[in-house]
Amino acid sequence: MILDQGRKILEEITSSGAEFADLRAEFVNSNIIRLGEGIPRRRNEKGLLVRGLFRGNWGVVSTNQLDNVKGGEVAKLSFGDERGKVVRLKPAKIELSSPIDEGLSIYSLLQDLPKIKDVEVELIEEDWKKEYLSTDEREIEQRWKFFFIKIGDGEEWRVTGGLVPPSPEIVEKLVDEALEMRTMERKASWFNNYPKRILLTPRLVSKLLLLWIKTASPEPPDQLKIDERVGVEHVQVKDLPAPLSSASNLFVDDEGVEGRELTLISNGVLINVMTDRSSSAYYGLRPTGNGRASTIGGVPSPTPRNIVFQCEGDTLDQIEGELNQQDLILLRLRNVSLMGNQIELIGDGKIGEVDKVVRTKLELNLKNFLQNIIECSKDLYTSIEWIGRIPIKVTTPFILLR
């Protein structure tokens, strides 16, 4: 829909002297219900990002007023002496769409839901459409629809989602888990000893892993430690193109780059970093398809898509069976703060086999976090984490840390 108008804008930018230009249009319609509030909400949002690179300097316009963008305006913004570069790609025309059942709606779920008390529940359906066009003749159209359920237990929201609305049974299960967590929190007493080993749940591993990944692409690039050992021998971390069922954008990123399977860590050694088109030129690397914007119509930056973390291991029952009273099972993080390479965690958990809930403060070295793994569970679990408006699918095992 926007592409014809977009071609004209790119022509204007090119005739103003740009060596590269691209644009991305996004349309997101959302229905939102917060249970018990009785006020249906709707968001009809759109955003257009237009960029031009002029003698190494970027000019960028971000707007939701699609009819008002003039190419000359982008040229007027370019400023400075930046020597910025961007990786050019071969021409491509791609159309992608997840199977969309227009009849599916969060409203259809409402009548079957039981009365829910003591936790906040929000149901969201989002209908996304993205279009991308660039002067290197890449033309992409993508469309998908996704359903989220957010459960708030007073302090944090937990989110899960899929291509169809969650069933009443899943909603009930998530509500029960949130209530259990709240009961646990009320019972918690402070544990002031330093545990010998900590068993982290997949949700906590996801949070720490995303923090670790954020620190793994330094600027300037001469600090990049490719081929450095960052984890124990059997750690493998991959970032995969997001599948249709993953709530993220599909196989192409927000800069028209097809995603490829990217192995970040192989046998404990860092072998790749995620890049967008600009940082690829900066590092001298091939773009990885990780240029994602955290807001509608926002500027993209390197961001994970679909992380899978694996290391060989035992069953969870076997690992738990080996724990003793000096070990901690950390179930919930209350706070994560990062100071340099040091992470301080405050969380609630259980001591070994004893059914006693404790709150504790731990310090971990983020840089060495993956090197302190003693064991991982064989089974993997998936959760959705967020960076701004971007959902990131993260699949990890339980891990036992030294």
Binding site: I32, G38, I39, P40, R41, R42, R43, N44, E45, K46, N57, W58, G59, V60, V61, S62, T63, N64, Q65, N68, E73, L77, S78, F79, G80, D81, E82, G84, Y107, G154, E155, E219, P220, S278, Y282, V299, R334, N335, S337, L338, M339, E344, I346, R359
Partner: protein
């Protein structure tokens, strides 16, 4: 004019269908220049229309940027709402005065000058930061009365010394505001190391005090907050002031079109309200209606102004803190990063104190440094007794 005509037409048609409606419109036209590895200027042009519609005690809320085809959508959503007698659309009040626009500001020239003044193009790469310059036009139109609008100038500066964890920031509606000079002239000093421990009286600089108040005290004014609400102690005076001329967070009217005025906060902090929340809880309407980004009409503070008669000196001045950590529902950890001794010596330190926000509000005293505005908080330095870890 086009925009108002569109909205007028929409409201007329809504009224014909028996729908009462308020539309809060916000148009932003700003240039944001961010310097990290690269300097990137982004022209942001955004128009958002926040619609609240009520019919037969049922309410719906909508965020959009255009009104075409919206009436049928509202009808559909209204059928799904649940009746609540507190839902109503109120009449806006006429605008009394508007003083938040700097008519002399030319955003196109100003952002380039400010990037230069902050030395963001310095080839040494010593400075990073952000410049934002532009205007925000706010308006309220309603089926229940005459609309009103105002324009707010926005200038935001942040300057960061690359490599050190030191930064200065400010926002204003006027270029001549001295609070902006504070950022432009910011230059770090060479830092030694200062060791601190034990029980000590610290004086928190206005910047550090504002950070703590924004994080710990401001949420006590939100209707949704379930945590503890503190009591303002004898040593402080606190005002929620929507009418501060230099603050871009000020506003002459709230999101329902009601005229704002300063509210003195005495004793226990109560949550702020809009028309629906005030009816629901049987409280006065504090005229604090605010749309939050997720598309929900609630109530929020604008500017919190702290004053104090006392001028208590601390043994050291805390100049910079790290990220405040939630320790528990009622406690936070404050990591201290930079302190200045009374002798003038300044240095890095690696220590922390635990703070209970309720106790902080009751027991803290005014310090010796004059009030400064950081974001939504204007405060002098504040002095309190802490135990360092």
């Amino acid at each position: 004019m086009n925009k108002l005509n569109d909205i007028d037409l929409f409201l007329t048609k809504a009224k014909e269908r028996g729908i009462a409606c308020t539309i809060y419109a916000e148009e932003r036209d700003t240039v944001l220049v961010r310097k990290k590895a690269h300097l990137t200027p982004v022209h942001q042009i955004e128009k958002n229309l926040y619609v609240r519609a009520v019919r037969g005690n049922r309410a719906v809320e909508l965020l959009t940027d255009e009104l075409s085809d919206t009436l049928d959508l509202l009808e559909n959503l209204l059928a799904r709402g649940e009746p609540d007698p507190n839902n109503e659309i109120i009449s806006p009040e006429p605008l009394d005065e508007s003083y938040l626009e700097d008519p002399k500001l030319n955003p196109e020239e100003s952002w380039r000058e400010l990037v230069d003044e902050l030395r963001l193009m310095d080839p040494s790469g010593r400075w990073t930061g952000e410049v934002m310059v532009g205007k925000i036009n706010r308006s309220v139109q309603s089926t229940e009365g005459k609309g009103l609008e105002e324009t707010v100038t926005l200038i935001y500066l942040r300057k960061i010394e690359a490599g050190l964890n030191l930064q200065e920031f400010s926002s204003s509606t006027r270029l001549e505001d001295p609070e902006l000079r504070r950022v432009i002239e910011f230059s770090s000093e060479s830092l030694g190391e200062i060791e601190l421990k034990g029980e000590i009286t610290v004086e928190l600089s206005p910047k550090v005090s504002a950070k703590l108040i924004e994080k710990l005290i401001l949420p006590m004014f939100f209707p949704e907050t379930s945590g503890p609400r503190g009591t303002v102690g004898m040593n402080l005076r606190m005002t929620e002031d929507p009418r501060m001329q230099f603050s871009p967070y000020s506003r002459s009217f709230d999101a329902e079109g009601l005229r704002t005025s300063p509210i003195a906060i005495k004793g226990r902090i109560d949550f702020l309200t809009n028309s629906t929340i005030s009816r629901r809880f049987g409280r006065p309407n504090t005229r604090s209606a605010t749309w939050i980004r997720e598309g929900r009409l609630t109530a929020r503070p604008t500017n919190l102004r702290i004053t104090s008669e006392s001028k208590e000196e601390g043994r050291v001045i805390v100049e910079e803190i790290g990220e405040i950590e939630s320790y528990d529902r009622s406690l936070v950890i404050v990591p201290i990063q930079v302190v200045r001794k009374r002798t003038g010596e300044i240095g890095l330190t690696y220590t922390k104190f635990v703070l209970d926000p309720v106790t902080f509000l009751e027991q803290t005293k005014g310090g010796t440094m004059k009030p400064m505005r950081y974001g939504r908080v204007t405060t002098p330095s504040l002095t309190l007794d802490v135990k360092l870890y």
